[in-house]
């Protein structure tokens, strides 16, 4: 996980942040299981999973530069939009489908989660909590979304994005009768575990969702 560690301070901070949520997912995934990572980026998480949990891993990303990095890491990577790639796999092909910071960037994320729950036994979701108190206060006081390490771009430079909060994820799960098997909230530092008032206090959340029964 030390890619480009000396080059960009932003990337360095981000990767450091990402270590904890990646660490939790690596911890959750069983050894020798099969993992599909939708929005796999540069394949850092998959590489960890292959090295430490001996998984059979497949990554999907729509960006050639990310795929090229995966290839360099020796991680299987498939270049396509995640919702299209998902349909290439048969039901129950994977033990886990990972959507780590992917939901906010895809069309119809609810449908993708449902389809992922058919292709995989469970879905691991990692998402930034837009309901985090600093975000709320910033909007309340300034009427503007905060620009920070997590969202470094001005609105006019950033891709279409679904804003979701921890509360909305829970509501989605209960509307669709999905089981939340495991759940970890991280505070605004994305590092320390957050135990109370997560929809206010959590900066990041990791869910394991499964179909009931």
């Amino acid at each position: 996980m030390s890619e480009n560690s000396s080059k960009s301070p932003f990337l360095r901070r981000t990767l450091k942040r990402r270590q904890i949520d990646f660490e939790i997912m690596v911890d959750w995934v069983e050894e020798d299981s099969r993992v599909l990572d939708l929005g796999c980026g540069r394949g850092i998480l998959l590489r960890e999973l292959v090295d430490r949990k001996k998984v059979y891993g497949v990554g999907v990303d729509s960006d050639l530069r990310k795929i090229a990095s995966c290839v360099k890491r020796g991680v299987n990577a498939f270049q396509e939009d995640v919702s299209l790639a998902l349909r290439r796999f048969k039901p129950n092909s994977f033990d886990y489908v990972i959507l780590s910071r992917t939901l906010e960037l895809i069309d119809e994320p609810g449908r993708v989660i449902q389809e992922a729950l058919s292709v995989g036994s469970s879905v691991l979701v990692g998402a930034v909590n837009r309901g985090y108190w600093r975000n709320r206060i910033s909007f309340l006081l300034h009427g503007k979304t905060k620009r920070n390490d997590v969202y470094p771009l001005w609105w006019e430079e950033s891709p279409l994005s679904n804003h979701l909060s921890v509360g909305e994820l829970h509501a989605f799960a209960s509307r669709n009768g999905l089981e939340v098997r495991r759940l970890v909230y991280l505070k605004g530092d994305w590092n320390t575990v957050c135990r109370t008032l997560p929809n206010w206090r959590a900066g990041y959340a990791i869910f394991e969702l499964a179909s009931p029964g």
Partner: protein
Amino acid sequence: MNDARHVSEISFEGEVGIVRHHDFLCEEEFYFESGSVLPAFQLRYETYGKLNESRDNAILICHALSGDHHCAGVYSLNDRKTGWWNQMVGPGKPIDTNRFFVICSNCLGGCQGSTGPTSIDPKTGQAYRLSFPLPSIRDMVAAQSRLIDFLGIQKLCCVVGGSMGGMQALQWAIDFPDRVESVLALATTPRQNNQAIAFNAVGRAAILQDPEWREGQYAPGEGPDVGLSVARMMAHITYLSDEGLDKKFSRVRRLLNSDQTIEEIEFEVESYLRYQGDAFVNRFDPITYIYFTKALDRFDLYGENGILEEAFADVTARTLVVGFTSDWLFPPEQNRRIAAAMLRAGKNASYAEVDMKYGHDSFLIDSPELSRLICNFLQES
């Protein structure tokens, strides 16, 4: 940043320089998939770089329909035309001859030095012509495997190929799972769609309907030149793209004189195609063209059950499939299907798509994205 320091960080790219071809004569019988037999055969090939002591640094490059064994370097100092993949193969280049021993052979059934329809049949003392057995992609690979035996190589660290060469690379991984460490298949397909078959059919029709075809019994120095040239001109269009052609010619016209006839060349693109057609006639045999397009048409990895992943059941090679956005002959989707089927079969495979505007032939053109991908893939070897 200081310039000198900057330069030292870039690995220096060199050329393979002057090369010459070799001929491998296999004196054992060769059985085609069809059951036909050749008493012996020859493959013409070139190599670049050095085979290491453990003989495990060999890469085999498979050429496309109209390609040959000359993929890098020049034949003399005055030779202005380098091999067809010169920017990809050489010291410090993506297929790095400082690291790898690179082999490229002309296919069985070809017309550039390997045994094919123009070779002499020892039984009759005459050229085989149409009595030469029709090779399949699998036959081409089986013949190459004899060459690899002869070179004393047990396992290839990569088999690389674009288009028809990509089909061969996949066939290598399927037929010789113990002998292929990795596969790099570019702009290829698990089977041609109707469009590609249709274009090949028109190419063959142009040759077969040329009055000079004479059932393949044309005299030396004669033959269906017009038909072959038309076939090549049309096929060449399918290797390019609308945008690529526009970029190259932008509707440029030659000078019009008042008495110009409709038979004369008017647009630059016409002149280019005519040149391509004429040049092809000088180096390619019509029967090989018919045979190779047939081999392409009949290649089908979907098998009897129509399930692509079944073809890959025994594959052990890690694979990178590369498609090109503007390729409408073997479109990205056909390339994606290869990698997706391998992944469904639980194999190690990746699919990458390079956004180049030159159509099917994009894989032959220098691009930093493609070079990086290939470097990254071979780095794992």
